[in-house]
């Protein structure tokens, strides 16, 4: 194994782990102000919005491809189906789409 690659991997691991663990250590036994708690409760929904757009439209050169996959996932989960069903369902839809077009 190459030493500089090994160093790089260890460095990448350290700078990735620190932000993940810090809040648990930093805020241990500490009650945050209500406004901040509210903001932190909002984070998951805001994060999901930013994780989905615009990235989902850019998975292929053809914007339609991501749009169709996203629409399939939206529809399946809107009907109340389980997350795994939405995942597999949208894969099937896109496989059919590429097979046809």
């Amino acid at each position: 194994m190459n030493t500089s690659i090994l160093l790089m991997i260890i460095g990448m691991g350290a700078v990735t782990y620190i932000p993940r663990a810090l809040p648990f250590v930093l805020f241990k036994n500490r009650e945050l102000p209500p406004f901040l708690q509210g903001v932190l409760r909002n984070i998951p929904f805001a994060t999901l919005g930013a994780l989905i757009f615009p990235a989902v439209l850019l998975i292929q050169d053809n914007i339609l491809y991501g749009l169709i996959g996203a629409a399939a996932a939206f529809l399946l989960s809107y009907l109340g189906l389980n997350v795994i069903v939405s995942v597999l369902g949208s894969i099937v839809v896109l496989t059919l789409y590429s097979a046809i077009f």
């Binding site: 809040p23 994060t47 999901l48 989905i52 809107y78 795994i84 995942v87």
Partner: protein, 239 residues
């Protein structure tokens, strides 16, 4: 009593593993492709698997390969990794509000496995979140990530192209599947997701910010803004 506590831990661990399965599926194509690209970048199988074992963060691992192939120095790669992954701070801070209190070492241990995906599943799907549950979700996701990175290195080139392509929707489908049930009839959630989606699209498509910073900035602006508006509205009702 002790036995009951152990049983409860066990069942929440199992529940975590079940809910983490969609992540494991979503990681297949990304990890396989990572392994494949790592090979073509010139990494050894051991280095590829080690990177997935130690870093466990998809976007930054792809980025490292890209920078390596451009001949970038390792310090620059480490710094970029930090910038790309700083958003996890926000996620851990948010998740901490939701997790049952536990020994700090246990929490620091499962914190290693907090990714965009495990965070989303844990913070949307169930409450309360115990350490056992987090080990379940993160463990399944981690195993899938590491194993598939190795498999991608060895067999990646043999995967049918059409399937490789259509599987790239998997994680986004999962994010959508997590978000949609919370959207139903909840204006605040709709507002949060739409605001951050618009901001993130504007920031990245205009090349104003890189992906890592853009996600952090859009998430924060959206979460703070909506909270301020919501607070003002509630106070207005009370007055």
């Amino acid at each position: 009593m002790q036995e009951i506590a152990v049983k409860k831990e066990m069942s929440s661990f199992r529940r975590g593993m079940q809910e983490g399965t969609s992540i494991a599926i979503g990681y297949f194509p990304i990890a396989l492709t990572f392994g494949l690209i790592a090979k073509s970048t010139g990494l050894a199988l051991s280095e590829t698997v080690l990177m997935s074992l130690i870093v466990f963060a998809g976007a930054s691992q792809y980025m490292a390969l890209n920078l390596l192939s451009l001949g970038t120095g390792i310090y620059e790669i480490i710094l970029t990794t930090f910038i790309v992954n700083i958003r996890h701070f926000l996620m851990s801070a948010s998740l901490r509000e939701k997790t049952e209190d536990d020994h700090v070492l246990k929490q620091a241990a499962f914190a290693f496995g907090i990714t965009d995906e495990t965070f989303s599943v844990a913070s949307i799907n169930s409450s309360p979140v115990t350490s056992g549950y987090m080990f379940g979700v993160n463990g399944v996701a981690y195993a899938s990530w590491v194993i598939c990175s190795g498999l991608g290195f060895i067999f990646g080139a043999a995967l049918p192209h059409v399937l490789q392509e259509s599987m790239s929707i998997a994680l986004y489908a999962m994010f959508i599947g997590l978000l949609v049930p919370s959207l139903k009839g909840n204006k605040k959630v709709i507002l949060l997701a739409v605001t951050s989606a618009c901001l993130n699209s504007a920031f990245t498509l205009s090349h104003f910010l890189g992906t890592g910073w853009s996600i952090v900035t859009s998430t924060l602006i959206s979460a703070v803004l909506v909270e301020a508006v919501d607070g003002a509205r509630k106070r207005g009702k009370e007055a």
